[in-house]
């Protein structure tokens, strides 16, 4: 199977190469040119600075979303009254395309990482909050009964029963949140001009350095891949007991 997978990947690169030879005037650099540009870039400081800016904004953004969104969501979900009261508001806020506020934050903060960060947090926090509310609603009533019957309370009840129980749902929200977070980070840089991979793509494009532009797009894809794979691995580790991960690695 690995051979087949490698074959398909190779086929993909081959198609890219075929396209690059057909498009006139250096429109599409070949895979070789692109990797050459990438290697050259990797030796420069500005490249790593741009990558670092993007990674930093992404990480801080998702961290703020988690630290604020998860506890708020869980607290709201524990109360029926609070759940009902906030449902419509959250629903509306969730559906506002986060990019709508890009011009506003651009006016307020200029083309800075802060600008991107504000937009990222305001855009990515809603799926996390909403899934956390849902999670706290979905706790197993029989485990609640069990905890009461055996007089398990306070901190221990939270850490051994409540948190593991809500984790699968919270992580579902986090998964959507991270995807949106990365997309918005790159978008904010690309459209708003804040330093990072996004604006580097534009700079390369404006200086008509297509191989370099492609190299940056490849870096963006790699970053996305690392985030996805990392998330999946973390999820499997934390939720090894969950039906969706059971049995894996057992045989």
């Amino acid at each position: 199977m690995i051979a087949a997978q490698a074959g398909v990947l190779f086929l993909g690169v081959l198609i890219w190469w075929a396209v690059s030879t057909q498009v006139p005037a250096d429109g599409v650099p070949s895979p070789v040119e692109t990797s050459g540009a990438l290697v050259a870039l990797a030796a420069t400081g500005p490249f790593w600075l741009a990558v670092w800016e993007t990674v930093q904004t992404f990480l801080i953004g998702i961290l703020i979303c988690i630290i604020v969104g998860v506890p708020v969501g869980l607290a709201i979900g524990r109360s029926r009254l609070a759940t009902q009261s906030t449902r419509l508001s959250f629903d509306f806020l969730r559906t506002i395309p986060p990019i709508a506020i890009l011009p506003l934050v651009l006016l307020l903060y200029g083309p800075t990482p802060t600008m991107v960060l504000v937009m990222v947090v305001l855009g990515a926090i809603w799926p996390i909050v909403i899934q956390s509310v849902y999670a706290a609603n979905q706790t197993e009533p029989q485990l609640d009964d069990m905890a009461r019957a055996f007089q398990i309370s306070g901190w221990r009840r939270i850490t051994t029963i409540f948190i593991p129980g809500v984790l699968p749902f919270v992580l579902t929200g986090l998964r959507v949140g991270t995807t949106i977070c990365l997309l918005l980070t790159i978008t904010g840089e690309l459209l708003g001009g804040a330093p990072g991979i996004g604006s580097s793509i534009i700079t390369a494009q404006e200086s008509l350095n297509n191989p370099q532009m492609y190299a940056y797009v490849v870096v963006a894809a790699l970053l996305g891949l690392i985030v996805n794979v990392g998330f999946w691995a973390a999820q499997r580790r934390v939720l090894h007991w969950h039906p969706s991960f059971r049995g894996e690695g057992q045989k």
Binding site: E140, Q142, L143, D145, M146, R148, A149, F150, Q151, I152, S153, R156, R157, T160, I161, P164, G165, L167, W241, H242, P243, R246
Partner: protein, 275 residues
């Protein structure tokens, strides 16, 4: 619907000076306008095995939740050794109906069983000893202790739930349809296990079931619930020897008599089931 006859009878095996281990006194409960339990009175003596039977929808589980202190009744009270129960108390352990939902899938068997002890402040080492002892009592190996509940069969999972109750060193164990979701052979094994443990450890067991044969086989006395709202139709003493056997005991005339009597009690009163 008559709140009845056979209620305040003193439990047969109670020694005179002792208060009953567990008692329902004029207990009534309902949800909204729907009265589920009318007025329930019965008492369970120390070391007794009592089953609550009744048609489905009669409110058996509600009654058990009240006895466990998980729900405050609307009327009347539950008394543990003569003291009104306001919340779950130490010494009363519960085995829930659905092992797949009452065991934590994210914790190993040993952690599941240890949790109530650790929460009560038992040292980790002591808890481990108590847990392994309880697992041995229910017939689980050291090997199973390190597994996750969902890696075990249904019958073994229910044994884990029973071990969790035993490790708590309870004087009373409440069980809500504990064998409803296992196959017939496993069910017979678990029934025998419960009787054996109850005598060996000298604990009081109150078990809810809809299965009349199971109730007769297990019990010293059977509390028959019927009507809507439910009340105690009768408390049937079971005249069977202490040593019981799935085949021979169930073939005795005494067994057949008790079963026929309880069938009659449940059938007599028309019940509108809510299912």
């Amino acid at each position: 619907m008559t709140t009845t006859s056979a209620t305040q009878s003193a439990p047969s095996g109670a020694s005179g000076e002792d208060r009953p281990e567990l008692a329902a006194v004029g207990l009534g409960h309902g949800y909204g306008d729907n009265e589920v339990l009318g007025s329930i009175d019965f008492a369970v003596a120390r070391g007794e095995f009592v089953c609550l039977v009744g048609p489905s929808g009669v409110g058996k589980s509600t009654l058990l939740r009240c006895l466990a202190g998980l729900q405050l009744p609307r009327r009347g009270s539950v008394q543990v050794k003569g003291v009104d129960m306001k919340a779950p108390v130490w010494g009363v352990a519960v085995v829930f109906q659905d092992y797949s939902r009452s065991l934590m899938p994210w914790s190993t068997v040993i952690d599941n069983v240890a949790l109530p002890l650790v929460a009560a402040g038992t040292k980790k080492k002591d808890a481990r000893v108590a847990v392994l002892e309880a697992l041995e009592q229910v017939g689980l190996t050291r090997d199973a202790a390190e597994k996750y509940p969902w890696q075990l069969s249904g019958g073994m999972q229910q044994r884990v739930a029973i071990a969790r109750a035993l490790a708590y060193k309870p004087s009373v164990v409440l069980m809500d349809e504990p064998f409803a979701s296992v196959d017939a052979q496993t069910r017979a094994d678990l029934e025998d296990l419960m009787r054996e443990l109850q005598r060996e450890l000298d604990i009081t067991v109150v078990l809810v079931t809809h299965d009349i044969d199971e109730a007769v086989y297990l019990s010293d006395r059977v509390v028959v619930l019927s009507g809507s709202p439910a009340s105690v139709a009768e408390i049937v003493p079971i005249d069977l020897p202490r040593e019981r056997d799935q085949i021979t005991t169930k073939a005795t005339p005494a067994f057949a008599d008790a079963r026929a009597r309880i069938y009659g009690l449940i059938r007599r009163v028309p019940v509108d089931t809510h299912e």
